[in-house]
Each structure stands twice: as C-alpha cells, then as structure tokens.
Amino acid sequence: MRKIINNPDDFVDEFVEGILLAHPTLLKTPGDDRRVLVRADAPVAGKVGIVTGGGSGHLPLFKGYVGMGLCDGVAIGNVFSSPSSEQVLKATQAVDGGAGVLYLFGNYGGDVLNFELAADLAEMEDIETLSVLGTDDVASQPHERKADRRGVAGILFAYKCAGAAAERGDDLAAVAAAAQDAIDHTGTMGIGLSPTILPSAGKPTFELADGEMEVGIGIHGEPGIHRGALESADLIAARLLTPILDDLDIASGDRIAVLVNGMGATPLEELYVLYRRIFQLTSERGLTIAKSYIGEYATSLEMAGASISVLKLNDDRLELLNAPAHSPFFREA
C-alpha cells in the first residue's frame, strides 16, 4: 500500500473532518454526524434542497458538489459503500427549506435502497422528495436499458443543471426535471489502467496487468466491455467517445459539453492529450464544444484511468451550466 492514512477504519471520518476544518465558511455538519455535510447556509428558505450521497473515495465526488448552485447536502458512506438511510434523512432535514428535496445520486443498488428508505422516512416528516438517478455509463447497459446503467462522472452535469434550476427558484418538479433532462442527454465511458486499493481491504479491487486496459470500467473498478493491450491516447479517445456520441444520437451541428475526467493517478497532462483528440474528432463530426471540463471530477482513489462524458446541449442546458456555482471543489463564475 502506498497510502497516507492512519487507521483505515478512521479514514472517512478523518478526511471529512479535514474538509470541515478547511472550509468552515462553506460547509457544516448538522448535529454531530460527520457523515453528513451541508452548505453552511442550509436550509435556504423557499429553495428546493438537493441531497446527494454515495460511497467515499471519489473526491471531489460527492462531497465536492455541495455549495451554491450545486447540491445542498451529502450523505457520506464508507469507501465505495452506500451511506445509511439515517444519514440521508439527516441531510434531508438539514437542507429542507420548505420547498421539498431532490435526491440526486448514482444508480447503485445500495444507494438506491437507502435513499428510497430515507424518502419513506422523510415523507413521515412531511418533507416532499423526488429522486433522480445518475445513469450515464454507456458501457454498463445497452441503449434500451439506459435506466439500469451505472452512474459515473457525468452526474456533474446533472448537479450543475439541477443546482442552477434550484438556485433560480424552480419548484421541486422542475428541479427534478432539469436533473433528469441532463442525465437523459449525458453519456460517459471510462478506461482503467490500474486498480484501486481500498484502505481497509489492503489489496487491489481487481487485477489488471501493467500494459493492459479495461475499456468501459466503472468507478469502483467494475469490469467494462473490453480488456486488452493498452492503446495510444488517440485510439482510446475514439474508443470512448464514439459510443457516447452514437448513444446520444449527436449529429453534425450539435453543441456539446465535454468532461475529461481523471480517475486518480492519471496526470492532468494525459487528460489534455485526450482532449486534443476529442476536439479533433468532434470537429470532424461538425460538433461544437461549447463547454469543457478537464481534470479530476470523479475519482476512484488512486486508480489510473480516465473517462469522457458528453452532454448534448440546448440553450436551456447551456444556460444552466453557465450559471454561477461555488463549492470548495468547484467553481463557475
């Protein structure tokens, strides 16, 4: 292991404490549960609250997207594990400004069940909730089963759109619709070059030889659709991009937003090498990249690899993307 940690069992509590100590003006924890973070100004009266959550080990996902113009709260699970329904409920209570709460999170069994349970509990407290699930990983299910896909880095677009919609005063149904609309027009595909080691397990989550790549990998190292010898960056860009563009039915003249995401150990330089090829490929197809994000937005601890996400744009979505947002980990001016 090459980890800068103390007792692995304390890992999550300690880094969340670090986040709270570093960003006291932006984030707070309701009560004494360090597994729930909310905006420092929560609840914002009259505004729809947005709660996300999921396993740890993906920073800046999920905790990093709590802030103005983004989510209002997050429930924090152990590394790669769902938060409990109790934690989701606490986040819900803390962000409810009277206009209801949107649950926006990735499509993972444990998360779905715990958010569902939390929704039942919130209902008993007369807090209205709606749920929208991130299902952007095109490698995880065929087009016809889009709703069953895993949620990966592309949820960023949904956070940004839903967060902006909530901030401008949309009601719960409209905020949920903005989130769902973003997800409906988002596709992601990733490639893994090395596995992750969970702090508590101390061994790799999967085996991948040096010089091999797993195409379509999930952000917990879930197997993809192809394993083979590592290819050039230009070929990888095409391998990841083409299925997404096809899946979203993106055609000449369309505007898109692109997210090139590093999974942890891949240098930023390599992400820009990918972006260069993405720019060329999309130009050739007659597309315009109206917005780009290049960096680490959803990681898998120290996995080497990257993913490409595409959001098909229209004026609405572009306006929501460009709306101001501010968290310790994300900023749109």
């Binding site: 594990s81 938060p83 329904s85 109790e86 069994g109 069940l113 508590s200």
Partner: protein, 202 residues
C-alpha cells in the same frame, strides 16, 4: 422460543458467521465490489452488540426490529438494506407474539422474502439471495417434521446456490457483468446459506 431464547439463538447463530467473510468478499469481488465480507461480518457484530443492549422484556418483534436497524447501519450496502428491510417486514408479522414457533419463522421468512423481492424488483432466478431464501422457505413448509425442517432448508438453499452458478446476474452490481457473471455462485445467496449452516451448528 421466547425473547431470551431468541436473543441467544441469534447471537450464537451469528457468532461465527464472520469466518465466512473471506469467501464472501472474494465472491463479491469477482461479481461486484468485494464488500460483502464486511457487510456480513460488521453487520453480525452490530446485531450481536445490539442484542446485548436489549432488555429481555421486549417482544420478539422488537428483537427483529433491533436486528434490522443494527444490520442496516453497520455497512449500508445493498444486502444490508435488503436484509434490514426484510427483517423489518418480518417483525411486523410477529407483532403481538411473545413466543415463536416454526410456523412463525416460516411466516417471518416469507415476509422478508416478499420485501426483498419488492424493494429489489427481483424474482427467483435473477441470481440473488432470493434463490437461496425462497427454496429454503419451501423446504421448511414441506418438511415432514420440525426436527428435519432446518436440514431440509439447508439442502434446498445449497441447491439454490449451486443453481445460481449457471445463470446470469440480473440485479445489483453483478448484472453489469452480463454473460461474464455466469459460472460463479451469487454472493448474497451464499451468505444466506452460510447463515443457515451456522444457525444449525450454533
């Protein structure tokens, strides 16, 4: 069984369940994310701890509820949430009872299975815990005597687990593997089988 007996039975039944943690982790690592070992070992420990805090005067239904809550929060994964939901559902059919017999256990298990199926949108054959749980319930129901019921349930669960090897996962993380999931036993079903076996030898 009355409450003190039930508490002891559960605690004893779970005492050695964590010895199967490695097997379950490896199965789940192959088909999912590898945390089922933790869910089962930290979940059992949490239940044992919760039972230790529980007064002997509470009802069997309260015992089941406490188990559900403890298991849900220990490592809140899919199995934890489904099993906890199942235990909660089971606790409802026990409400009002002060002792528990075989029929009550069958009713409990059936309510749990129904809850898992509803919440998980899953059925027998989807390669989940239900493929061990449902045959076991059938076996309990048709067992000629109370004495042989548990052994019959174990045998049925064993066959159920074996059968999951031949099919493709249709629920949970393992479903993403599609054809590649064929060949391995379902981790959740295996976990239930190990629980029954430990229950027998407690």
């Amino acid at each position: 069984m009355n409450t003190p007996e039930l508490k002891t039975a559960i605690a004893d039944g779970l005492a050695r369940l964590s010895t199967h943690a490695d097997e379950l982790r490896d199965l789940d690592a192959a088909l999912g994310d590898g945390d089922l070992g933790i869910t089962v070992s930290s979940g059992s420990q949490a239940v044992i701890d919760a039972l230790g805090q529980l007064d002997d005067s509470v009802s069997p239904s309260e015992v089941a509820k406490a188990c559900a809550k403890a298991f849900a929060n220990a490592n809140p994964s899919t199995m934890a949430a489904l099993v906890a939901g199942g235990l909660l559902a089971g606790s409802k059919v026990w409400s009002g009872k002060t002792t528990i017999d075989l029929t009550d256990s069958i009713d409990f298990a059936q309510a749990a299975a129904d809850s898992i199926s509803t919440r998980g949108k899953s059925q027998r054959g989807d390669k989940t815990i239900l493929d061990a749980l449902m045959p076991a319930i059938d076996a309990l129901r048709t067992a000629p005597t109370t004495d042989t019921a548990l052994s019959a349930a174990i045998a049925a669960a064993e066959k159920g687990v074996e059968d999951t090897k031949g099919v493709q996962s249709r629920r949970g993380r393992a479903a993403w593997l599609q054809e590649r999931s064929i060949g391995l036993a379902d981790p959740g079903a295996t976990a239930f089988l190990r629980f029954l076996q430990e229950w027998k030898t407690r």
